[in-house]
């Protein structure tokens, strides 16, 4: 049992909102989003092999339900921040895929004008604050977003994603302590895919029931959630957001998920078997929602093919456009550094 710091069991405070039934059109929207993320990521894998994408590239394939289900449960005014495996969150937050491809290809039309790359997608207008590449370093930033909301008495929550590997960083623990201490409205969401790079959770974390590491330690109660189930993600995040909005402070969600691809594109995956991957693929989040929708007669095979074709065409078109876009001018290296420039600094 995890206590919330007042000696109250959180299981009574935060229950997935089973009564909230998403509408057929919402579920169809999530389905399309997940198909779009996967198609985007598969195109990225291809583009990476074609050396159109440089640096590190971490694909979200297998984890789609996490970003889609949780972001669906928060409002446009809420703040979203994540780590380097950020493509899925950016798309779920509504970013257009053309500037994402362009960013990956280092083009001027990229969402960060080619300054950020795969790990640094940002969209300030959509309250999407990155895209952060140092493991765990963005978690304190989430406390700042939460602090600003609380300070200004705004009705906002922060959705902060990170991987299980980040939970062993000092910055995670410092941030969680501050969030617990100041009762900040933050949903801390570990996308627990079982591996921090190539090291299994059991070989990295002294305690593997991750909610135990935040509950009594920082007064931030935790819940487990099935990250392969988009509807479960939605219901649990709705409950968590409501908990935060009521001024209870932060909440921690241990989201059990799995990535089908390597940690990054340059990972030979010697640390796991093909059988293990196949086992998880049987619970594929897209397949699962597809079945639910078919069972409810909202979707049929014909429609599935139609959606797939549409989305693949959309992805190809965005990729081709980005591929043809111009690179930034070399003079652009001097811009986007200072907001207030000075003297003869080239800006």
């Amino acid at each position: 049992m995890t206590l919330n710091g007042k000696g109250v069991s959180v299981t009574t405070l935060v229950e997935p909102q089973q009564k909230i039934d998403p509408s057929p059109s919402q579920m169809m929207d999530w389905y399309r989003q997940m198909v779009l993320i996967r198609a985007f990521e598969m195109r990225c894998a291809q583009s990476y092999q074609q050396q159109k994408i440089g640096g590190f590239c971490h694909l979200y394939v297998g984890q789609e339900a996490v970003a889609v289900g949780s972001i669906a449960a928060v409002r446009p005014a809420d703040y979203v921040i994540t780590a380097y495996r950020d493509h899925g969150h950016a798309i779920a937050r509504g970013m257009d895929i053309h500037p994402l491809f362009a960013e990956l290809y280092g083009k001027k039309t990229g969402c960060s004008h080619g300054k950020g790359g795969s790990m640094h997608f940002f969209d300030a207008k959509k309250n999407f604050f990155g895209g952060h590449a140092i493991v765990g370093a963005h978690i304190p930033l989430a406390t700042g977003l939460g602090w600003a909301a609380k300070y200004r008495k705004e009705d906002r929550v922060v959705l902060c994603y990170f991987g299980d590997g980040a939970m062993n960083q000092g910055s995670f623990h410092e941030a969680l302590n501050l969030a617990g201490l100041f009762k900040l409205p933050i949903i801390f969401m570990v996308e627990n895919n079982g591996y921090g790079m190539g090291t299994h959770l059991h070989r990295a974390s002294a305690v593997t029931d991750l909610k135990l590491r935040t509950g009594d330690a920082y007064g931030i109660p935790g819940k487990d959630v099935d990250g392969m189930d988009c509807v479960a993600m939605y219901r649990m995040t709705m409950a968590a957001a409501e908990y935060c909005r009521k001024g209870n402070g932060s909440i921690f969600l241990d989201v059990k998920t799995y990535r089908y691809r390597g940690h990054s594109m340059s990972d030979p995956q010697k640390y796991r078997t093909k059988e293990e991957v196949a086992q998880y693929q049987e619970h594929d989040p897209i397949g699962r929602l597809e079945k639910q929708l078919k069972d409810s007669r909202i979707l049929d095979d014909k429609k599935v093919t139609q959606i797939s074709d549409e989305i693949h065409a959309q992805v190809e078109a965005a990729h081709e456009k980005a591929d043809a876009d111009a690179y930034p001018d070399t003079a652009d290296v001097w811009s986007d550094i200072y907001a207030n420039t000075f003297g003869d600094y080239k800006a």
């Binding site: 960060s112 004008h113 950020g116 977003l145 602090w147 300070y151 410092e174 941030a175 207030n340």
Partner: protein
């Protein structure tokens, strides 16, 4: 004009800016209920309350990151490091997050944050607590680095730092908090990137800031009295941006240059100034630029050893004499 301590000048700057702008808040260790480890934030909790003057746990990476996150959505946090030696456990937040988020977001975000506190070897605190971080942070594009020498400079520069839209490293010195100086009652701001000639002279240029500027001024006075040597002391006030045009103008007048810093010589600020001078003013130099810096060793504890390691008035005076080929 009233004479006040540098700590009061800093306090006034923060209070005025907090009155002016509700988005400004102060967070750090012991800043609120304890009234500041060095009493810089004295009385501010009573004035502004616990949401704006915030005691943080000993958790530099956490509260520095909290500040950066809040700045991303337009707040103007002032982060007090009890000493910049402790900023090193928050180094990633200060050098990776604060100055790069604007860049990596393609200019979508700005990070208007001030990190302030003491830098420099204090009172025999041993090697880990005695960092002079000037060169470390001046190295980083995206940061601005400020180093006030007087109470007047401290107030005007801190107000500018708080209003600036970029991350600012504001370096204070423990031994200078109690020094008094004239500060006008009327509001004023001092610009970044504009050096101040702290003493005019024609024989040799000395570039020094913060605590070392006071040492340089004492050495200048000594040489004036003892030998009639007229030293020009240039205080850059900010190390990034660095007012090289002012330094170059002075060197072109005197023909000689000495730099003074409490940091280390290797890749130090003096090394940078010397390099830029040889690139831009080579033909005007009548001797090589001489650097006075801490000796290239970890800061020792023992008082005579520490005094030996740090630049002092005699070492600076000797360097000036050497620079201008003074025989006497």
């Amino acid at each position: 004009m009233p004479e006040i301590q540098m700590r009061e000048a800093l306090n006034q700057a923060m209070c005025e800016e907090m009155q002016r702008d509700p988005d400004v808040f102060l967070i750090g260790e012991e800043v609120a209920e304890y009234d500041g480890a060095y009493k810089v934030s004295q009385g501010m909790l009573a004035k502004f309350g616990p949401m704006r003057v915030v005691d943080a746990p000993i958790s530099e990476s956490g509260f520095a990151g909290l500040g950066v996150g809040a700045a991303m959505v337009g707040m103007r946090p002032i982060i007090e490091f009890m000493t910049f030696s402790f900023s090193l456990v928050a180094f990633d937040q200060v050098v990776n997050n604060a100055p790069k988020i604007r860049h990596m977001s393609g200019g979508q975000l700005k990070v208007p944050i001030v990190f302030r506190g003491i830098s420099g070897p204090g009172q025999q605190l041993g090697a880990t607590h005695s960092w002079t971080v000037d060169a470390l942070y001046t190295h980083v594009p995206g940061l601005k680095v400020v180093c006030p020498t007087t109470a007047y400079d401290a107030k005007g520069l801190l107000k500018t730092a708080i209003r600036d839209d970029d991350p600012v490293i504001f370096l204070e010195n423990e031994s200078m908090y109690g020094l008094r100086g004239e500060v006008p009652e009327k509001e004023y701001l001092l610009p970044f990137g504009k050096a101040d000639i702290k003493r005019e002279g024609s024989d040799c240029t000395v570039v020094a800031w913060g605590h070392c500027c006071l040492i340089a001024l004492a050495a200048a006075e000594k040489l004036h009295k003892e030998h009639g040597i007229e030293v020009e002391v240039i205080d850059p006030r900010t190390l990034r941006p660095l007012d090289m045009p002012a330094i170059m103008a002075s060197v072109r007048k005197t023909g000689y240059c000495v730099t003074v810093e409490e940091g280390y010589p290797q890749c130090g600020v003096g090394a940078e100034i010397a390099a830029q001078l040889q690139e831009n003013s080579f033909d005007y130099l009548d001797n090589s630029v001489i650097r006075v810096a801490a000796l290239d060793v970890p800061m020792p504890y023992s008082k005579p050893l520490l005094q030996h390691v740090l630049p002092g008035v005699d070492r600076v005076a000797d360097a000036i004499k050497k620079a201008i080929y003074f025989q006497g």
